[in-house]
């Protein structure tokens, strides 16, 4: 089992902030932001020492909750300051990107980071459609086309044009190319049948997040079926499960932490927007329709003492089949940083060594 630490930069606001997304830019505190990024590097040096395999960063906009609107920038900065750990971009939001630029930036970054990059490509959370004026009804198609264009840009040796449905280029010929050959380990992230099918067709890994083991298993088994249809089998390391984890000294301590997790949605939109986008942003798990994540906190699927959590990891491996766990060890956006350091210490010393061989 490989273990990844999901880094969110942990911005601590000096004053309470309005809960609605987008959060006003004028409420940002420069010193708090600078401090968040400094602490990020300190924390990641600790994460690297503890023996995590990867550090992961995501892309989120217009909010203090995860202060990484440009994961390429975070990843480059991390790669320059840490020399051993792998850096996983999970991931660039493809539909509102310039896919050729994403391909170029990842190629540069992989080379600058001595081939330590892992790439996850995704459609993005529901709120992110509004960051760059993306029509949510177009986002699935734009994601599929963009992902294919990124792969093509990395691997096609001759300059080529692209007559897409949503993207058009007359001549693409990227320099540099990724250091890893043919490209960094790449995943299509998401539980949808489209993501699973894309991953299977293009021999990519698959990543699922936050849901219960049984629900995530629907997606991962669909992914494996599709891979078989295309004549190959994924390795366990080609399935990532991103999840929230609360490890306590005891089960009771962990449950107490769980009770204190706020019940608010990560990027809480106002009611009118939330209602409207629920009908415009269609999501599915291996083809089964599900509502977009717009209300309520994300679940925590690993909770307990080190012994309990180790058993949960074992069960997760059996049920979901993931060979990589990408973990948030304390709620993102929580203003308490010390509990995170404690959680890292506890996880790193009492859990991590015991789950490596699962």
């Amino acid at each position: 089992m490989k273990v990844s630490f999901f880094e969110t930069a942990r911005y601590r606001s000096p004053q309470p902030l309005p809960p609605e997304w987008p959060v006003p830019s004028g409420d940002y505190d420069r010193e708090a932001g600078a401090h968040a990024y400094e602490m990020m590097i300190e924390r990641l040096q600790f994460v690297e020492q503890l023996g995590f395999d990867w550090v992961s960063v995501s892309e989120h906009h217009y909010s203090p909750r995860i202060l990484t609107p440009a994961p390429i920038v975070s990843a480059a900065f991390i790669a320059a300051r840490l020399s051993r750990i792998k850096i996983a971009l999970l991931g660039p939001i493809v539909p509102h990107s310039n896919p050729v630029r994403v391909a170029e930036e990842l190629a540069m970054l992989d080379t600058l980071a001595q081939g330590r990059l892992v790439v996850g490509l995704l459609r993005g959370t529901t709120n992110e459609a509004m960051s760059y004026d993306l029509n949510p009804q177009e986002s699935r198609e734009r994601t599929d086309e963009g992902m294919e264009l990124i792969l093509k840009a990395w691997t096609e040796p001759q300059p080529f044009g692209w007559q897409g449905r949503h993207f058009q280029y007359r001549t693409v010929s990227i320099w540099p190319r990724p250091l890893q050959h043919p490209h960094p380990p790449t995943y299509a992230l998401g539980t949808s049948r489209e993501a699973c099918e894309f991953a299977a067709r293009h021999h990519l890994g698959c990543g699922v997040s936050y849901g219960s083991f049984e629900v995530m298993a629907k997606a991962t088994s669909y992914y494996r079926e599709q891979c078989a249809r295309h004549g190959w089998q994924p390795a366990p390391e080609q399935i990532i499960y991103r999840a929230n984890m609360l490890v306590g000294e005891t089960d009771e301590a962990a449950q107490a932490m769980l009770r204190k997790v706020p019940g608010t949605a990560p990027f809480a939109m106002r009611a009118g927007v939330r209602e409207a986008i629920s009908t415009l942003d269609s999501r599915n798990i291996a083809g089964e329709a599900r509502a977009p994540n717009v209300g309520g906190a994300l679940p925590t699927t690993f909770v307990g003492s080190p012994d309990t959590v180790v058993e949960q990891v074992r069960r997760c491996r059996e049920v979901v089949g993931a060979g990589v766990l990408d973990l948030s060890l304390f709620p993102p956006g929580s203003r308490d940083v010390d509990p995170l350091t404690d959680a890292l210490e506890l996880f790193g010393t009492k859990v991590l060594p015991r789950i490596r061989d699962i």
Binding site: E145, K152, P157, F160, G161, Q163
Partner: protein, 261 residues
């Protein structure tokens, strides 16, 4: 725009063609399945005088037992173009007809203004097999979206077999070092298109044309299979028209992105 049917006597054959539009001539040579108009032909005919030939031995024309090589077929088609009173022309070839078009451009470089190759069959991966089976099975392999194609009357099996014999006889080897050597001397502006979902000829073949042909250009059409113009007529036409009008300068975008004045 409605296409009108005509016949021209050339090189001892009576050759059928469909024609529409005005402007610079754009001659089209079809694939192994024969002449079939797509929406792209309609769109192209608003900028060009499109002449889509039915090569001798295809469709309802008598069996062609005379033509014994692709260069010969190319020469016959060049004579057909001459007989229509056309001297210089743009040339487009699809798959099998792409090979014909290549040979024609090599033989008559002063006449071909620009060359468009739609999933050309001249360069193929070693050991690849042509589409076979029932018309339905072949359709599935040719199109990304077979359900979007209009139902075409299936050709009489005897007529289909006759055309297949010709195709087999004229089929060029997967790789032809002689042809590929000559491509390096071809100065004609050439656009090669492959659909990203082509299961008949691997899109990876596109790069070989791009490497060899000095003024060659490669474009992938997303979400299209082997029958690119049929699968994505608008996307196909946009880049083909641009290339025929501007040749290598087509790399300079003229797409308008102004949202509001």
């Amino acid at each position: 725009m409605a296409f009108s049917e005509g016949y021209v006597e050339a090189d001892g054959f009576r050759i059928r063609y469909l024609e529409a539009g005005q402007g610079p001539a754009l001659v089209h040579l079809h694939g192994a399945g024969g002449l079939r108009l797509t929406r792209a032909h309609d769109l192209l005919s608003s900028c060009f005088r499109v002449v889509a030939f039915e090569m001798p031995g295809f469709g309802e024309s008598p069996e062609n037992t005379r033509t014994s090589s692709m260069p010969e077929l190319a020469s016959t088609m060049a004579q057909a173009v001459t007989k229509l009173g056309i001297d210089a022309f743009n040339l487009m070839g699809t798959s099998f007809g792409g090979t014909t078009a290549l040979w024609l451009a090599l033989q008559a470089p002063t006449r071909v203004l620009a060359l468009v190759l739609e999933a050309p069959a001249a360069i193929r991966p070693e050991g690849a097999t042509p589409p076979a089976g029932t018309p339905e099975e072949i359709a599935r392999r040719l199109y990304a979206h077979p359900e979007r194609q209009p139902a075409t009357p299936t050709l009489d099996p005897a007529l289909r077999a006759k055309a297949q014999r010709l195709v087999q006889r004229l089929r060029v080897p997967d790789r032809d070092p002689d042809l590929e050597g000559r491509l390096q001397e071809l100065t004609t502006p050439t656009l090669v298109l492959f659909g990203t979902l082509d299961q008949v000829i691997a899109p990876a073949m596109g790069r070989i044309y791009k490497e060899l042909i000095p003024n060659g250009h490669l474009v992938f059409v997303y979400d299209a299979a082997h029958a690119i113009a049929a699968d994505r007529p608008e996307a196909f036409t946009e880049v083909v028209v641009d290339f025929l009008e501007r040749h290598e300068a087509f790399v300079i975008s003229r797409t308008e992105t102004l949202i509001h004045p």
